[in-house]
Symmetry: C2
């Protein structure tokens, strides 16, 4: 496993690779969700590249950039174990030297997470495009947990005619249903227990839908009631939307994306499910 | 020479090319300025790809998209003669099917042409990025005549870490100094004669600079006076600016970009020179 800090270093290595390249971009502090992406890349491609970069441009002022958890040593151990070939760990300066170019995906970025985190997806799209240009993978792997991010990346790749395939990997969960997230580390013991409410609310939505409920407002209402019963939880949004456009639905026509953001104490968590 | 209309067609061909690829993006109606780019690509790379696409997103409402001159048959004859390997001639629908992603280069796009043509460089940067992703050249060739466009493209390539080299080719001129441009075809006989005032004004600036004049305002004033003497000409802007930032200068520190936009009758022309 080679750990590379510079763009030119990755580019030199990349120039020598003739077989297929799979790429997993991460912000580090790896958990089983990330490792599922790496395993999938390992199974499907010859050379696996993972990047670890806490991208400052996707955090808004006042967001948790500074407190975002980091543990490079542990991350590298994990990646070595998964037989990663190349780990790219650039500095901020390496990624953003006198930077002035941005990629905007219009429409879908103005909803849900984009509405609550202005500039977030501009930062995501831009850094992902840069990483794609540096690594030049044939396939890149993203987790379904960040459903809107997946949509934005796919749209960017399609619109800008980027020559790679986006592979979406199902959300990995703890045994009680909590979606794996680097931010889970911030949860106190009590908050950790309260955090299962996201999965419970999604499960409730799926149960109602399977039971024949087609009224999105009714499902939103019942999800809201469930979460309102947890004193540590405060709802950011609960959405039942068209999975392509992210337009909210009144009557559910599948496939629909049920997604929610809930603050548990000071930690903002997101999760989603698809109604088929 | 292969003429290809689809992205997938170019991509299939590109996948088979193992040697170096040189790319010349154009809007067609080719003149000797374009052919200088093609010749340079032919001399420097193994496979030469030229695109012909009048990109609608870089024209503002009310600009000359509809009247922009087109002659594909003649263009293809020219390109065949220059031993072009692949010509990419996509339709609008092929390039922009349900499109929502834009690339913005901040700062330098807000000056000069960007100020007078809102959205122009967003359209340019976006379509050029798409073409780069489709063609995947090692080198792409642009004319110095569109000096600000060159700056914007170079900045985008550097910022987004695109893996290619931008080659800038000197402006090709008619015998009386008029810079080659597809838009010159719109000029009447009388306007054609008046149009030489752009080159005359640039030559005056160079002469004054070589003669020791360092005051940018004085040079701008003399250029303005010269052009004011031509009744068919109306000045858009006259700029003497830092060649990296496009900030206007008071006292000239070389290298400085002298650039101007002048409307001759209904036709808007641009040209530039560098004070070294």
């Amino acid at each position: 496993m080679q750990v590379i800090e510079t763009v030119s270093g990755v580019r030199n290595l990349r120039g020598q690779i003739k077989n297929s390249v799979g790429f997993v971009p991460t912000m580090g502090y790896l958990h089983d969700g990330h490792l599922a992406l790496v395993k999938r890349a390992r199974a499907e491609t010859d050379t696996v590249v993972v990047s670890i970069f806490v991208n400052p441009t996707q955090f808004d002022v006042g967001e948790d950039l500074v407190s975002y958890p980091r543990d490079l040593e542990r991350d590298l151990e994990f990646l070595e174990r998964e037989k990663t070939d190349i780990v790219f760990v650039p500095s901020n300066k390496e990624m953003y030297p006198s930077f002035s170019t941005w990629i905007d995906v219009e429409g879908i970025t103005e909803k849900l997470e984009g509405l609550h985190r202005p500039g977030h997806f501009r930062g995501v799209a831009t850094v992902v495009a840069k990483l794609f240009n540096i690594v030049q993978p044939g396939r890149a792997y993203f987790g379904q947990k960040d459903a809107q991010q997946v949509l934005v990346i796919k749209r960017m790749v399609s619109d800008l005619k980027m020559n790679l395939e986006i592979v979406v990997v199902p959300t990995v969960r703890e045994s009680d249903g909590l979606a794996m997230s680097s931010r889970n580390v911030h949860l106190s013991h009590e908050e950790r227990r309260a955090a299962t409410v996201l999965f419970k609310a999604l499960s409730l939505a799926e149960e109602l839908w399977r039971g024949g409920e087609e009224d999105a407002d009714e499902i939103r209402f019942q999800m809201t009631s469930l979460i309102a019963g947890i004193s540590l939880a405060s709802i950011g949004y609960i959405s039942i939307a068209n999975i392509g456009t992210l337009e909210e639905m009144k009557i559910i026509t599948p496939p629909a994306l049920v997604s929610l953001a809930v603050r548990i104490g000071k930690t903002r968590l997101i999760d989603n499910a698809i109604l088929k």
